[in-house]
Every structure is written in structure tokens, then in C-alpha cells.
């Protein structure tokens, strides 16, 4: 009987220190992966409309610039094996989109 109790106890300990680690670790990995992938989606959404920049309203342009700034903060915090390359490449690409929207905004505000 004592042995069974010991087994339960050891099982309980193992679950707490190892099993939970797996579960928590697993969910953290999923969150990490989602965050990693989802910033690219946001980048694509911001930059996919540069050809329409001149037709956008002032509010739309301001929104895209704001989103670009927020995304830049996320890019700065990237971690992982490709982080340095991605930071460098996407910072430059995002900057180019932002500048185009910013230019279009300036043009519109001057005109209006």
C-alpha cells in the first residue's frame, strides 16, 4: 500500500515539475510561433497597398503610418535564429512603405 502511495507521490511530483513544464513550455512555444508569424502578416497588410497610397484618405494614411510604427517596435524585439537578418531586412522594407505613406500624407495635407 505504501508503495502505491509512493508511486502516486512520485507521479504527482513528476507531473508538477516536468509534465507542466512541457504543457506550459508547449503553449509558450505556440504563442511565440504565432507572434513570429503574425508580425509578417501585419507587415504584408500594411505594405501591400502602397500602389494606392495617393488615393487613400488622410485618415487611412495616418492609420497605416501608426501601424507601421507599432510594427517596427515589434520587429525590434524579434528573437530567434533569423532575428538579426529579419530585423535588418524588414526594418528597411517597412521604412520604405512608411515613407511613401508619409509622403502621400504630407502631399494631401498641403493640398487640402
Amino acid at each position: 500500500m505504501k508503495n502505491i502511495a509512493r508511486l502516486f507521490f512520485i507521479g504527482f511530483l513528476l507531473f508538477n515539475f516536468w509534465g507542466r513544464g512541457f504543457i506550459v513550455g508547449g503553449s509558450l512555444n505556440t504563442v511565440y510561433a504565432q507572434e513570429q508569424g503574425d508580425w509578417k502578416q501585419e507587415y504584408a497588410e500594411i505594405c501591400a497597398k502602397t500602389q494606392n497610397a495617393m488615393e487613400m484618405s488622410v485618415a487611412e494614411l495616418k492609420d497605416r503610418i501608426e501601424r507601421a510604427d507599432k510594427l517596427q517596435e515589434r520587429i525590434n524585439k524579434l528573437e530567434g535564429p533569423l532575428a538579426e537578418t529579419e530585423k535588418k531586412v524588414f526594418t528597411k522594407r517597412l521604412k520604405m512603405c512608411r515613407e511613401l505613406y508619409s509622403f502621400a500624407l504630407e502631399y494631401k495635407e498641403h493640398k487640402e
Partner: protein, 147 residues
């Protein structure tokens, strides 16, 4: 698309070639400079069909409504004018690659530049000589017939 980045980005890597380049491009449209192939014509003739989308790198965007080709008048007498094609320059790129950082504004003529500045790596020279055909290939830009 399978990632075969190493085939081009092969610096410092031991990449086994699948075929002999010279043999592969034999009979293709010729060009004086670079690796001897006129890639633009090769594409026109459908000898090559370059990917225009790489997962995780490219952006899916609506097709650009391109302006008509326009003329950039040469400053030197007798030098053929440049015919600039937005269509050719936007096959792979968004507007943001050139505007407003390299070419400011949306009005033609707002950005002033010369061949000297281009040779210094500014304006057209940002890409031409680096990733696009070299500046010494004059007639590929200066292509309007002189009357």
C-alpha cells in the same frame, strides 16, 4: 515553391550545380555585358519564367495599374532619349522601392539628376550596376530613335 536559395546565394557553400550554365543558355538572346544573356528578352520569349512570389518574403498585392511608358529627354544633343517603363520596373517591386527615397514626388521632372550622379550610385544607379543591368549598357535605356 521549394527553397533553393543556395543555388544563387552560394558564397562559401559547396553547391553542386545541376547543369552547366553555358550549355544551358546556349542559343538564348545575347547581351554584350554581364553574363552574356539578355534576360529581359529571355523572359519575353518565355525561356525563363522567374518567380514573382516567395513565401515569407514577398507581399501579395493587387496588380499595379501601370502608367504608360514615358520619355526622359536626354540633355546631350544626339543622345537618344530614355524610354522609362513603369511596367518593367514594377514586376517585382512596389512603388516604395523608388518613391519617395530615390525619386521624390509624383510630378515628372521634380527630381533632378544627371549621369554623373547616376554613376555615383544615386537615382537609377542605386540598382543599375548592382542588381540590374550595368550602366555601360547605354542603349538599353537610351532607346528612342534619334530623328
Amino acid at each position: 515553391m521549394n527553397a533553393t536559395c543556395d543555388r544563387c546565394h552560394s558564397l562559401g557553400k559547396n553547391v553542386t550545380r545541376k547543369y552547366d550554365f553555358r550549355e544551358f543558355v546556349k542559343g538564348w538572346p545575347k547581351e554584350r555585358l554581364g553574363n552574356g544573356v539578355d534576360w529581359e528578352k529571355a523572359e519575353e520569349q518565355e525561356l525563363i519564367m522567374p518567380y514573382d512570389y516567395i513565401e515569407g518574403v514577398s507581399i501579395k498585392r493587387a496588380k499595379l495599374v501601370v502608367q504608360d511608358d514615358f520619355k526622359i529627354v536626354s540633355k546631350v544633343k544626339g543622345m537618344p532619349n530614355i524610354i522609362f517603363s513603369h511596367e518593367k520596373h514594377t514586376v517585382w517591386n512596389g512603388c516604395e522601392l523608388c518613391h519617395p527615397e530615390i525619386f521624390v514626388g509624383i510630378k515628372k521632372g521634380l527630381t533632378q539628376y544627371s549621369m554623373v550622379s547616376i554613376y555615383e550610385g544615386k537615382f537609377c544607379g542605386v540598382c543599375h550596376n548592382n542588381v540590374a543591368f550595368p550602366l555601360l549598357d547605354c542603349q538599353r535605356c537610351h532607346l528612342q530613335e534619334v530623328k
